[in-house]
């Protein structure tokens, strides 16, 4: 399929008419679309989706309501009509597909999607096609189930990385999409159809056998198991319907809760802030009480420095006087000894008689010391007062806890700041949740959680039913086998049909695994080839595929490389897509984001050089700031057919303009 033109009126942000031409030259098959406007890019993709399939996709792959597709500025002017037209060629034919939506006749101002009437028309080689033929045409070149690989939103790359997460909802969906492309569902349906036919044939066989003599017991048993199976299948149908309902309800609640999640969180924060504030205030009050008690002793701490100094001074005096007293004592003792010596004319130390000379010396010394003593006056009262002052001061200088006041003041101050912050937070949060029914939100959450449990319970029941079903089916198969061996039974037409349907069913059942295995090895080879071209690491030898079409990188020894950078993930994902494109379908147009977010220059260059070769037309959405127009796009230069730019005129109005390279 080769796209030619896309034009629209009042579609999403494109107020009024918008029109772009796709490059049709085989050698210049790249179209670049520049823009900061993320919405503008998604809207172009959605224009293609909507014109083909009547659907536009928003965040999280959720469908955007028809009502929300009409440009808001246009609706403010009272213009509720939107239109998208695409022209293309395929298999030698020219096509024009048109889809419109307008206000229904009796509606004055539309307020919901039902107020709009959607219509479509297709022309093939200028001849209008009947409405009933349009789907078949579209299915030939761009079936909706495979549009993932054709209308390739950059977010899809992230989704592919989900493939590595086994069992995630996303990975299941993507796996299904891949297998759809690669033909697996045909085999699954073949098996299912054969099973249905087999069941009917077995019933018919039971009826026939009952009419034949000699097979009553086998017929009865067959009938019994068939009845069991029918009953279980009925239960299963009911259980699956219930499961779907529960899941749908849950998803609806999830959507509603997502919208108000912010509110719920805000209420939680609000409650926490109020509680913390109260704690802080209570703590402050406690601290104030402690402070008041400590203030009682604060006067002592005010005097402490001065009193300490005084004490040191007095103590020094005291010590000085003490040493004076000791000195005086010494002198007195010496005087006493000398007086005795002079009088007794004997040495006080050894008791020997003193010579004349020694007596004179002793007397002289005695006189000197007696004179010295006279100068050693001591004020004992003063000495005593000093001692008692020191004692008093020691009592006054006993430690108190009043110094804790500083820490308390600091803590109280800190708490005040916290309380102010909390007050601001509380005010802001209150504004946010004012008027909202937060109890209702809590109720919805509880209900959603209940539905989750219910869903798991039903899934359990379904499994149990399936197990029982299988058991019964096995029993039935045994009976069939027995009957096959009996010539008379075998001859009945219904028996022949049972045998044939059973063979077909077995063949298809086995083919599913066969195809999956074949596909995996094919995709693995093709993805590896693409990977080698895209990766800059020469020591990577290729990729290995897992059950969910996830891929791991192999090094030159064929060992798995366990840790990959985000950039590597993107390369792997791109390789997978390219491998699938080659394995599953003919190269068709690919519309995608530049997957440059996490890639270095070398990888980007590789991708840009490689992509145009994998597809008939490549439309690349380029985000400003992500690439350097002058240098990064150099590998594409020779392949660029046209360049557009999305300009944001206002929040609700964008424009696409063609620019010269």
């Amino acid at each position: 399929m080769i796209l030619h033109t896309l034009s629209s009126t009042n579609f999403m942000p494109y107020l009024g008419k918008m029109s772009i031409n796709f490059p049709t030259d085989k050698d210049r098959n790249v179209m670049l679309v520049f823009g900061d406007n993320m919405r503008g890019k998604t809207s172009l993709l959605n224009a293609l989706r909507w014109v083909f399939y009547g659907k536009a996709i928003g965040r999280h792959s959720r469908e955007i309501a028809l009502f929300d597709l009409v440009n808001i500025e246009a609706t403010l002017e009272g213009d509720w009509s939107i239109e998208v037209v695409v022209t293309f060629e395929d298999d030698g034919h020219r096509y024009e597909m048109r889809r419109t939506a307008t206000k229904r006749a009796l509606v004055s101002i539309p307020s919901r999607s039902e107020d709009l009437l959607m219509e479509r028309a297709m022309r093939k080689d200028d001849i209008p096609l009947g409405e009933h033929l349009i789907d078949a045409e579209i299915n030939r070149f761009a079936p909706e189930q495979t549009s993932r690989f054709f209308l390739f939103d950059g977010e899809l790359l992230d989704e592919y990385e989900q493939l590595l997460i086994d069992g995630s909802d996303q990975s299941k969906l993507i796996k299904e999409a891949i297998e759809q492309v690669l033909g697996v569902p045909n085999l699954i349906r073949g098996r299912d159809d054969a099973q249905t036919i087999l069941k009917h044939a077995q019933k018919q066989q039971t009826a026939d056998l009952q009419k034949m003599g000699g097979f009553e017991s086998q017929a009865e048993r067959q009938r019994h198991y068939q009845a069991q199976i029918e009953s279980i299948e009925k239960d299963l149908k009911g259980q699956n319907e219930r499961l779907k309902q529960v899941n749908d309800d849950r998803i609806e609640l999830d959507d509603a809760l997502e919208k108000v999640e912010a509110l719920y969180q805000a209420k939680q924060k609000f409650d926490d802030a109020v509680a913390t504030r109260k704690e802080n205030i209570d703590r402050q009050d406690d601290l104030q009480q402690q402070r008041l008690l400590l203030v009682k002793d604060a006067w002592k701490e005010v005097l402490r420095p001065l009193l300490t100094l005084k004490r040191n001074h007095i103590h020094a005096q005291y010590l000085k006087l003490t040493s004076q007293m000791l000195a005086r004592d010494k002198v007195e003792t010496k005087i006493e000894q000398l007086a005795v010596a002079v009088q007794s004319q004997t040495c006080h130390a050894c008791g020997q008689a003193l010579h004349q000379k020694e007596r004179v010396a002793a007397a002289t010394e005695l006189g000197r010391l007696q004179a010295e003593l006279l100068g050693m006056k001591l004020d004992l009262n003063f000495f005593s007062k000093l001692g008692s002052d020191v004692q008093s001061l020691d009592k006054l200088l006993q430690p108190t806890d009043a110094r804790q006041i500083a820490f308390i003041d600091k803590e109280v101050s800190r708490l005040s700041v916290e309380v102010t912050k909390l007050d601001n937070q509380i005010d802001a949060l209150d504004e946010l949740i004012k008027g909202q029914d937060t109890a209702e939100i809590a109720r919805k959450r509880a209900k959603r959680d209940g539905l989750l449990k219910e869903s798991a319970r039903i899934a359990g029941d379904i499994k149990s039913s399936k197990d029982t079903l299988e058991k019964n089916q096995r029993e039935l198969a045994i009976i069939s086998k027995v009957l096959e061996g009996l010539p008379k039974a075998r001859a009945a037409k219904s028996s022949k049909l049972v045998k044939l349907a059973s063979s077909i069913e077995k063949a298809y059942a086995r083919s599913i695994d066969q195809l999956r295995d074949d596909l995996k090895s094919t995709v693995e080879n093709l993805a590896s080839q693409a990977f080698r071209k895209l990766s800059t690491q020469s020591q990577y030898s290729g990729l290995r595929i897992n059950g969910n079409y996830g891929l791991t990188i192999l090094d030159e020894r064929g060992q798995e490389v366990p840790i990959r950078s985000a950039g590597a993930e993107q390369i792997v994902a791109l390789s997978l897509i390219d491998g699938l494109a080659h394995a599953g379908r003919s190269a068709g147009p690919v519309v995608m984001d530049t997957p440059f977010g996490r890639l270095d220059k070398k990888h980007r260059a590789n991708i840009l050089a490689y992509l145009p070769t994998t597809t008939s037309q490549l439309v690349l959405f380029v985000h400003e700031g992500e690439v350097d127009r002058a240098t990064d796009l150099a590998p594409l230069r020779s392949k660029i057919g046209c360049v557009y730019e999305i300009k944001e005129i206002s929040l609700r109005h964008s424009r696409v303009e063609r620019i010269n390279q």
């Binding site: 073949g190 249905t196 083919s511 066969q514 003919s586």
Partner: protein
């Protein structure tokens, strides 16, 4: 979209050769063509492929009977 269908058909023929060698390749091709024709049917007309397959199998049994 012929490539993938060929792969699916090839897988079917190979699987049948393994588990049900008595099945005719011609029958398998015809049954597969039915699936391919109906592959993008909407759910409400899902039964169409099953009806077509039943007709094919009935016809096959009838042909065998008449031999």
């Amino acid at each position: 979209m012929t490539d993938d269908n060929d792969m699916a058909l090839a897988a079917l023929l190979k699987a049948a050769a393994d588990v049900e060698p008595a099945l005719s390749a011609e029958l398998l091709r015809k049954s597969f063509a039915i699936q391919r024709r109906h592959q993008f049917d909407h759910d409400d007309i899902r039964e169409a492929s099953m009806q077509d397959l039943k007709m094919l199998l009935d016809a096959t049994v009838d042909v065998e009977d008449s031999k």
